[in-house]
Every structure is written in structure tokens, then in C-alpha cells.
Symmetry: D2
């Protein structure tokens, strides 16, 4: 992702019309750039109910602008195809019935070409609308762009999962030249005093509804690891029988281990006596120094318990964020279930279905990963997934109590 | 399908080398012609575990020649891609492990283009081999061509099912000009004396192993309907509460009715108060005069019971075949489970897995349908499907006892 | 089972009133004798949807007489509890809705004591009715008694299955003193000429509807083994890799092997390096000479194929029955799917749901077993179960073609 | 439960030997009193995987004392039956393998009588041990008694569920004489200032590990309803389309509504146009004034949203507890997922599996219900169930933000 896009989205300053058009087009173009290495066939397959076909992502992000911006706010706008309202609604009950999620992979039509035409149709209409000023939709457009950026990451997560199930082990892209680093930097600990503090978004600049309101919390003294857990460290857990010893696991996590046969993170695979990982560039040898990735919250918690530590609570993570070194390569599981902050209220209407209705049975991840658009990362950002999910880029940062 | 192909395959006379090459290429070409109207995305989707993606059919029929003919019999032949042996094996245990059937739709790669290259590679190598005479593989090639013809019909069955699940109701091809026939010809009955008779293939010309050996059976006097049951007749059954009255149904059939919510044949749908059917040319109004199609064996049996008749046993059907009028538009369910004829022996080796191992929990259908290559139809042909299957082109011909 | 019962039921001669009362009571008493070793808790448990709790069998056989005999034919009869019509209907659609089969084990009430009171209530009313002559219900009563005898065998099958799942391995009864026989008699073959012949019940004496009508069939020359396959013989199949070699199996059978982990007949278990079998008297060492039992039709067919033989067709079995030595210890799987004989018509009304509606996806077993009441065994008797069922007492008799 | 028991368990003062024996026996006797109205058959049935047969509860609570107290601490103690260690282990991985939970209902043996003998055997041995002082096991015994009290409530929950599935609608006990109260007291609100406060158990007297450590939390000003939500109030939600309007529901809750067909709380049933509830005394008319019960966390949250309020967080509930009127009739769902308090550490060994390992995908309920032993109720007590569970006695208390 180019720096230009990054800067354009991140600034809180008022934008000129030209800037807002440029920003809009840059995000749209980036989505298409991510889909480009995938064939029409690649873009059609749905590898599991939790994942979606690439072309569905291309269409759904377009549907968002058509449904929430163009339909209500662009006089005279004609829908590209009225059936798409049904086909590409993800979960908005208020918008009406929708195609069942597990059947997204049955839709050979519309094909990739038609979906690209749909994108052009909507991008053009949006460009037109934005070019006329359209201050009243500025917030909706910003939401739509952040929404599309979320799907940019989903495109990579879902494509990786789909390709991993193919015995041919196809690569999404060529392997980048890899810096040979035999070891991760030594693990250090940053201490934090805790006390009464404030967390959550303060309302300056864009944030999703679930990041606020800013509110007070009490924190006991704690420490955070200076970097995510490395594969070498996680391997020690595996080799110490981590996946065979129930004492480290939450009961629901142990059920996953035994029923799904977990023996290592997702995409790890033993070949010729050595661990390999499947990546977007195909299968390659595991690098001991790289952060462990594609672990569930259960694995993260079991590893932490084995290590005599714990996972950070999300308020701790947020307070520590300023001190954390480097940029995120992996999302970091917290010990916090995804619930509403005190005083949280869902926005009215269909847009209110964005975040609040998922506040059950999910855990918060913080940070961001190498697949996250840089300007989509915020200290207050609350990513969330069920604790058994592994196909997102989820890793581990340890915490401990200080007393 | 051109007459040329038909004649070429049907003749039992010895073929010249040129004829056998021409026949081979004609069948291969016909398969590709059937796939041509389908986009790359269409060819990738698997609509249910029982069905396969079009491109899988294109590859599997090719795999058959590569595995059973070229590999063992063409010196110096190089496999197009060694991984394809695993990917495109359907169910041949003797050939080795294989990609799980319900996951055929997860394979975005190889793409349609690569599979077409695979086809060309194998077609060329086969052409070469056949061009050199290769009398020793003549029987295997014939089997491979009949196998490919079976998959030609499957391509249409499976594509129809896949398209039917798409809310856009896409058509595979343009609708043919339709002769307006408001009524089917009146139903007549052909009487047969029965007695001790012989059925099964006599070994002259090609037949699948399961069609023989020819053997004696005793038949009591019976009669067969002069034509398949029409939609108008079936509609009378529906309107008389056929799908709500358990007294007409086998117990396992009634379970299907209640658990799957059957209310009419597959692809029938009520729209604006009138019955429509989804066809390869899209949705159109039901024609009362057309044969009812896409019924399960359970529905066929329930209809027959409601009508005070029964389904024919397969020996009756075969004896009556000579007298039956017209060509088949629908496969006709019989009352006969698919079992071995007396004296049947499976061929040795992997080829022996072709028919014999499926002789459990299936019912025989006889005849052929509009999707069956004309030269693939034989009076002794035994098609078979589980009694609850509806996506093949299965219809009804009534029978009754005479005394 | 006492000789007295046997004689009473078997005779085709007209019975006196006293005889018919005695016969009725004897069958009812025998059912209760079979349940007696089981505790109230034992009688309540349903081990799988296919099996029923003992007390359900006690009640359902009683329901049969109440619903089909007393209700319509005993003026002034008062139902014991009107709710029982719903609770203890097995599958008679014509009688009305019923308690779902898989939930029979959820019914702690009525308790065993109340069900025994229900039995007494109905037995008394029936005794009364029979004592008054009641010639018009003679056929229904006979059917009810044969129905109850079927359930006597089911009580033992189902109790055995339920006890087998208990890690305590409880016994239903003490082990009988066992004749030590180290080897089965040598296997001989009885040859039969075949030809045009008649099979099926001729209408003299009681038979279920599905045993007729008697009809002609053509049989090629064949031979039948002189005794059922022994455990020693079946063990040779196991030790030759029978459960690891797909070439012996029907495709659907091989699916069972791999998906359910079959490695031996049901109730076989390796302990301290030796095969044991769970029996109604608990776990004991396998006797090589005893007939192999608790195999599915798939295992029977695979064994036969491994042995270079086949299973008999039911007409062959019936023609050979006169020559077969000894009484049956195990039901014998045939190669014949359970379908209607030519000319078969279901009786009208609810009684017509007895046999005909199950004519799909089942295979015929012939003979009888040690749990079958002796006077319930007939040469024309057609027992039937799905080909994957193993909890009935099913064994193997080999056949072969002669030419 | 008698006052005597209540007092005995609740006091934190040092007990005499006689007192500790009396307390032990009183709790054990109470469990048996709760089982007494249930027949042997009732005590055997398992109505769903989440529930257990009564006799399993009787045995498991006994297993606890045998495994954790008598085995390690009573020299010369002989296990009643070594197989019971396997049969009656609930989920303690450290103790070893165990009988699968969903198969508890398959165990007809040991029967109720044998389990009562097991209870006597262990109660006698414990009485003996306690009579000798045995100060070293005092904490374990206390834990065992609180564990048994938890199962006393489970016995009632599970028996109610089991009886509710029986079409006969049997009652566990006679209906108590019912005070006719046509209306609940008017709903009032208690305001709380919030601020920095402490919650959690302070270590004085018995508490489960998960109730501590006591720790600081910040609370914004809030108010709590003066009483649980009544059936009349909940009915208004239903009648306003509560179960048909997705806007009130968490996404996972709405899935339950649509997939499980929820239309009212568990055990509510419309009969002759009026709502009834199934109770331990059978089916009776709904009382508008009684607290709504047997709702899931999803229903509680949806009701609160419909009412324009919210559920209390558990710290709010705990701070408000002193002010709450009356004793609890229903457990009250909170908005708090069940997670570890800051500084929480699981105890070492098998006992450590008691609470901590379930800290995933569950919500906290606070208070107690009419089935909870009075001396088992504590302000800091954290009950927990998955948000879709309804068979426990869960109700609703509303909260709201003050600002």
C-alpha cells in the first residue's frame, strides 16, 4: 500500500473535494490490486462458511456504497442490478433478506468481469457524488472506506485459507526476498504502573463505534513483553508437549485440540522432519525468529499459561501501546472478551448493525498485521474473533502482573 | 451431437485406424462443446457432494485415458502433471488415494485453461497411439469413450443443479423454439405375455460389465404404459394431496417428504400461482404435455401407487423396450434394486471398480434422456442412482400386472 | 421357550377357545419372562435410535392389541391411558401422530410398574374377548402374537446392545454351560439343480404379507454351504487384511469400514492379545467353532468375495432350506434386496403399513437365530435390515454358482 | 432446606468435630431428599448432553469425596468399586480418562440402589474420618460440600428439563399453595454513585477460587431495578414482536431465535389461548407477577434493549447487592463474560480444574434462585453459563446508566 493512501486516510484535517475523491479512488484501487493476482476461479471459491470468495468481497464493499450512500443520497442513481442488494448483503437485517453466507461459493454468476463492471459503475457514481461536494455523506463515505479496508485484509486471509486447502499448494504471490535472521531479539519487559486511567477513542478523527466512549478503568501494575512471541518460543511449547497436556488449556480449547486434532498453529506442517509454514507465497521453511501466527485465542492462552505468564487485558494493551516497539506483524490476542464499553450505544439504523451485534462469544485482538492497511491501524482499534478462529493473522504478546 | 459421432460409436464392425481416431476425437470434442457455454467460474463450482464441477469432469475423463491407457500402454508417455493422478481420481481405490469428493469445489487450481491444456496433451498422445494401430488397447479406449459419454450427461445434470441454486436463475443455453403441444398423446397400454425369457447383454458390441451375463428370468403377464407419465398426470397426483398422504409412500420416501420439505419434483416452482420449471434454458412455464422429470424413485413409486399401478421391473422394461414408442426424453425408474445378474463377475484390476462395487442401495433406471448421447443408449443399459436422488433426468413409466 | 408355546402357535388346525386363550397368554408371558432379568433402569435406556427401551417393547406390543383388536372389536373397552396411543405407536401413520423414535429413551414415565399394569389390563381384556369366541378377530390376534414374537427377539437384540455400551460389561443372564468344541464340522456343499421353480408362502397357515404370493422364478444351478461361516473362518479373513483391503468391499461398505472404524464384527474385542465377544452372558473368549454373528451385509458380502464365493439369493436359500442341516443359530444375509414379490399387494388400512412400506434400502435375511421363538421360524420368512446394521444376530452362509 | 443446615454451613467460626460431622451428613441427606421423589427410571434418563441423570449426580458428588478426600487422606480406605473412578469423573483431566458426558444416560448400571449403597459407603467413611478430627482435610471437605450443593440445584434443573420432554407432563412434586398476587410490586430504581471501588471475595469464610481476589474497579454512576423483570413485563416484549424483530438481538442470539424457533422463554407454552409454564409441579397458568425465568442471556439482553435499558455488569450487581430487596427467586444474567479477576491464579492439581478452565464463552449470573441452597448463596458468587443456555433458573434484572 502506497504512502500516499496512508496519508490521505489518516489525516483528521478537513479534506478538499479533490482530496476526498483521490482518497476514495485510492482505496478502491487498492482492493482491486489485491484481487488481481487471483484467477476468476480463485475468486469464486469459498473455502469454509467463515470465509468468502474474493469476488464476493469485491462486490460487497461496492454494495455498501450503493446501499448506504448512493441509494439514499445520490438523486437519480440507478442500481447496477437490483438483485445485488440481496446477493451482496452480508448481515444487515435492516436492509432485508440476503443470500445465505455458507452458499456464497455457489454463486458462479455474476462473474468476476461483471463484478468489476459493478465496481466501476459504483466508483464512477461515487466519484461524481464526491466531486459535487456532498458534505452530508462524508462520514458515511469514511465508514465505507474503512469497511473496505477491513475487507482488504479479509481478501488476503480468505485467499490464503482457500489456497492452503489445494494439494497443489499454489502461491498468491512470489516470495519476497527474505532477510535471514536466525534469532528474534531477546524478550524484554516493559513495566507499567497502572492506576486509574482512561482508554477508548476520544472522538478526534475516525474510529468505529465500538472503540468508544473513552472511559475510566483501574489497572493494577503490569508488564508487557517487548515483542510478539516468536516461532522458536512457541516451538518450545509444542516440544514440551503443549498440545498433549490439558493442564495448560481452557476446557473449550482442549476440546478443540482433541476434536480437531490440533498439533500446531494453522498452516504449520511437518515435512521431511522439519516444520514448514504455508504462506501467501507458498510453503516455506519455518523461520524461528518470526512471530508465531495463526494461533487461536485458546492456543495463545495455553502458551501463556505454559510460560507462566498471561495475555494482556485490552486496556493494558492500549495503555502500553505507546511503548511497544516496531510495527505489528500479527494481531495480538487479549484476555478480554469483546463487550460494549460503559456508555456505548449503537448508532440507529442499519449502520448500527456494524459492530454492536457481535458482542458475544468473541475475544478482542489488538494491533494489526502485515495484511492490514497501515492507515487502518489505531491504538484504540478493537478487532474481534471467536476464540477458536485461526485463519486471521493472530499472534501472541505476553503480559504479567507486577506487585 | 452429430450423427457422425453416433454412427461411429454404435457400429460393432471392425474399425479402420482412421475411424478409431476420428471417433476418439469426436467424443472428446463433444465434451468440450458441452462445457463451452460455461464460464471459468461456472466450471469451478460444486453445488453438492454428489455433483462435480464441470472442469473436474473435463479433467477426470482425461485422467481415465492417461491412467488406464497412456501410462501402461504408451511407451515414453510423460504425465502432464503427476499431481493430477491424485486430484482427478474419482473412486478407484486400486489406483491410490484421491482428493475427497466433497472438496472438488475447493480446487480453484488447476484452472480451466490448464485443464484444457491437459486435455489437449492427452488427446494428442492418444491420437498418436491410436494412429499407430494399438489394437491391444481398443477395448480400453472404447470403455474410456463410453465413460466420457457418461460424464457428458453428468456435465449437464451438474451444471443444471448448480445454476438452479443461483438466485439469478442463469441459463446454460438459449431456449429452443418450443412446439406448442397442449396435451400429451392419450396413455395406452402394451400387453406382454411374459413366460421364461432372457435378458441382459449378449456380448455382441460394447456393453458395460453390469449389463451381462444374459440370463433367464420368469415373467408373469404384464403391461407397460405407452409413454412416460406427463406433467399433467403428475400434477393430478400433487393436487390430490400426493405429498401430504403417507399412504402412497415408502417409509424412507415419506421421511424425505417431511424432512426435506418435498412438495413437487425438483426444479418445479410456483410463481404467480402457476407452476414453472427451471431448465437449462432458465425458468419457464410448466408444459402439461411434457414428461415429468427430476423425480426420485420414491416419488415415482408413490405416484404409481396413487395411480393404482406400479413401476416396471427391469426385466419387464427390457422385454418391452422393443415395443416402446419414440425416443427417451427421461430415464425411467424401475422397481428393481441394482444388483448383480446371475453369474456376474467383476473384471480384475482397477477397471473392475467401474460398476460392481456400487451394487447397494441404488435403483435401476432404464432408457436414456435428452442429455444422453444417442449412441450411448442401449436396451440393456442399466443406469442406477439412490432412490432419493432427483438431479438426474429421471421420470416415470407405469406398469401393471395382467392375469 | 417352552415346547408348549411352540406347539400352540405352530399348528394350523382350528383352535378351541381354550387353546386360543392359552396360546395368547403363553406368548404374553414369554415377553415378560424375557424382560424379567432387566432392572427398571435397564428397561428405560435407549442405546441408539434404531433400538428401543425394553419397557417400550412391553408397551408397544400391548398397544398393538389395544389399538387393532380391543378398540375396534371389544364393545365397551376402555383404554388404559389415552396418551399411550401416542406414546407407543411405532410407525403407523394411519393411526396418527406418535412420539419420535429417537426420543423413546427420554420417557422415564410411564415406569415399568405402570407398563406392567397396562399389560395386565390389556391381557385381561383380550382374555375376556377371546374367551367369548371372537372368531372375527382371530386373524388379527394371530398377527398380534407374531408381532409380539418379533419384539421378543428385539428385546434381546436391543438389551444386548445397551449392555455392551456400559463399561461395566454387565450380563443379562448367567452363562450357559458350554460344550467345548474346538472345531466346527467341515464345510460341505449341497448342490441344487435349479430350473423353473416356485417360492413364497402358499397361504396355508400364518405368514406375513410379504412372504407371498407364491410365484415362479428361474434358478441356475447353485450350491449352498452346509453350515454358517464359523468364527475361525471369518478370522482368517480378518487376518488376511480383510478390513484393510477395499477390493473385497462394496463401495458403501468400504465407507462404513473407514468412517466407523470397523475392524471386526460388532461385539468382538481384542483383550490381552485374544479375541473376545460380548454376549448376553457378558464378555467371553471367542469360540472358533461358533458361527460368526453380528456382521453387516457389507461384511458378509466382503467375506464371500474374499472366499471366492457369494451370498445366496433368497429364492436359492428358500429352495435349499429343506436340505440345510440343523437349526439356525444366526440369521443369514442373502444377496437379495427386500422388494415386493410379483403380485404383492399391501393389505388395506393401518395393518398394511406392517411390511410393504419398508421395501427400500434393506437386504433380506433368512432363517432365524437363537433369540427367535422357535414357532416363529418359517422357511418363507423374510427378515430385513439395512445393509450396514449389525446389532441383529446376522451371520453368513456361502453359496456358489454351478455350471 | 432446614435452617439447621443453613446455619451450619454459613458460619465462619471454627467448628467442633461434632458440628462438622453433622454438617457433612446434613448436606448429604439433603441431596438424597431431593432425589427421593424420582423413580429409578427418572433418575436414569439424560435429557440432553448438558444435563445429567439424577443418579449420576448422586454418584459424582460421592466420587468427589472418594477421589479427593478418602483416597489420599483416609489410610486403608477401600474404593467401593474401582470402575467408578472412570464412570463418575465429570471433567477432571488430571484424574484420568472418564465416561463421555453425552453417554451418561446409557448407563443403566450401576442402578439407583447400588449408587445409594455407594453413597452410604462413602458417607460412613467420611463420617469416620471427620470423627477423628482430620483438620487437614477441612478445606477439601468444605469444597466438597459446596460442590454437592451445586449439584443439588443441578438435580432440580436437570430433572425439570427431563420431565418437560415427556408428553405426559409429569410433576416432580405437588404444587405448593400459591399466594394469588395479580401484580408485581411497581418497578423502582436504586441509584449508585459508582467511583473507584472494590469487588470480589475478601477471603473471610468459604468462597470458590473464582470469586477472588478482591480487586479495584471503576464504576460510572448507575441504577439497578428494584426487582427482577416480571412475566407481565416480559410478555409485553413478546407481544411487541420481540421474537420477530432482529434489531433487539445480538447476532448470535438472533441465530438462536431463527434456528431453534424460540418464541418465548423455555417451558412457556400456549394452551387454549393462554400462556402456561411447565414447573416442577407440572403445567400451570403463567402468573404475571412472578419473575420471568428460563431465559437465555440473549433473551435477557434483547429484552433490556427493547426496554431501553441494559443488563448490569457484575461489579455493579455486587455493589448493589446490599440494597437489593428480598431473596432471589431467579439467577440474574449480567452483561459480564466470565473471565478471571485480576491476579487470579488457579489452585494447583486436579482441584484447580474446578472453575478456571471454563473461562471462555460463558456469561456470569449473580444471586441465586429458589432451587439454590440458602447457605450456598453469597454476594460474591459467580455462576456462569453459555449465553444460549436456558434450562437453569435464569432471569433478568435491569440496569441503566446515570449521568
Amino acid at each position: 500500500m502506497s504512502n500516499k493512501v496512508t496519508q490521505a486516510v489518516e489525516t483528521g484535517a478537513p479534506e478538499s473535494v479533490a482530496e476526498s475523491v483521490a482518497r476514495f479512488q485510492a482505496v478502491r484501487r487498492q482492493t482491486e490490486r489485491l484481487a488481481a493476482p487471483l484467477s476468476a476461479e480463485d475468486q469464486t471459491v469459498q473455502s469454509m462458511p467463515d470465509a468468502s470468495p474474493t469476488k464476493w468481497h469485491l462486490a460487497h464493499t461496492t454494495w455498501f456504497f450503493e446501499t448506504f450512500v448512493l441509494g439514499p443520497h445520490a438523486p437519480g442513481y440507478r442500481a447496477f442490478d437490483p438483485a445485488f442488494e440481496y446477493l451482496f448483503n452480508s448481515y444487515y437485517e435492516a436492509v432485508g433478506p440476503r443470500h445465505p453466507r455458507p452458499q456464497r461459493g455457489l454463486l458462479s454468476r455474476p462473474g468476476v468481469e461483471e463484478i468489476m463492471a459493478y465496481r466501476r459503475h459504483v466508483t464512477d457514481a461515487m466519484t461524481d457524488l464526491l466531486g459535487r461536494g456532498a458534505a452530508n455523506v462524508a462520514d458515511l463515505v469514511k465508514l465505507g472506506l474503512h469497511h473496505e479496508q477491513q475487507h482488504q485484509e479479509l481478501i488476503l486471509m480468505d485467499a490464503k485459507h482457500m489456497l492452503s486447502l489445494n494439494p497443489l499448494r499454489p502461491a498468491y504471490r512470489a516470495a519476497p526476498p527474505q532477510a535471514v535472521t536466525s534469532e528474534a531479539p531477546p524478550l524484554a519487559w516493559s513495566a507499567f504502573e497502572g492506576g486509574l486511567t482512561e482508554v477508548g477513542h476520544d472522538g478526534q478523527g475516525f474510529a468505529f463505534d465500538n472503540e468508544g466512549p473513552r472511559h475510566r478503568v483501574w489497572l493494577d501494575p503490569f508488564a508487557l513483553a517487548s515483542r510478539p512471541t516468536s516461532c522458536a518460543e512457541y516451538l518450545a511449547f509444542i516440544e514440551d508437549g503443549g498440545y498433549r497436556r490439558p493442564e495448560f488449556w481452557l476446557s473449550a480449547g482442549w476440546d478443540c485440540v482433541t476434536q480437531r486434532g490440533w498439533e500446531a498453529p494453522l498452516y504449520w506442517e511437518m515435512k521431511d522432519g522439519r516444520w514448514h509454514v504455508f504462506t501467501l507465497s507458498g510453503l516455506r521453511a519455518l523461520q524461528p525468529s518470526e512471530p508465531v501466527c495463526h494461533v487461536s485465542a485458546y492456543e495463545a492462552a495455553a502458551f501463556a499459561k505454559w510460560a507462566g505468564k498471561r495475555l494482556p487485558r485490552e486496556a493494558e494493551w492500549e495503555k502500553g501501546a505507546a511503548a511497544l516497539q516496531g510495527t505489528s506483524e500479527v494481531w495480538e490476542w487479549t484476555a478480554s472478551p469483546y463487550v460494549a464499553y460503559p456508555g456505548y450505544r449503537e448508532p440507529p439504523g442499519a449502520i448500527g448493525e456494524y459492530n454492536g451485534k457481535f458482542m458475544a462469544n468473541q475475544m478482542v485482538l489488538r494491533g494489526g498485521c502485515s495484511a492490514t492497511p497501515v492507515d487502518h491501524i489505531r491504538t484504540t482499534y478493537r478487532n474481534f474473533f471467536p476464540p477458536d478462529a485461526r485463519w486471521m493473522f493472530g499472534g501472541i504478546r505476553l503480559a504479567e502482573d507486577l506487585r
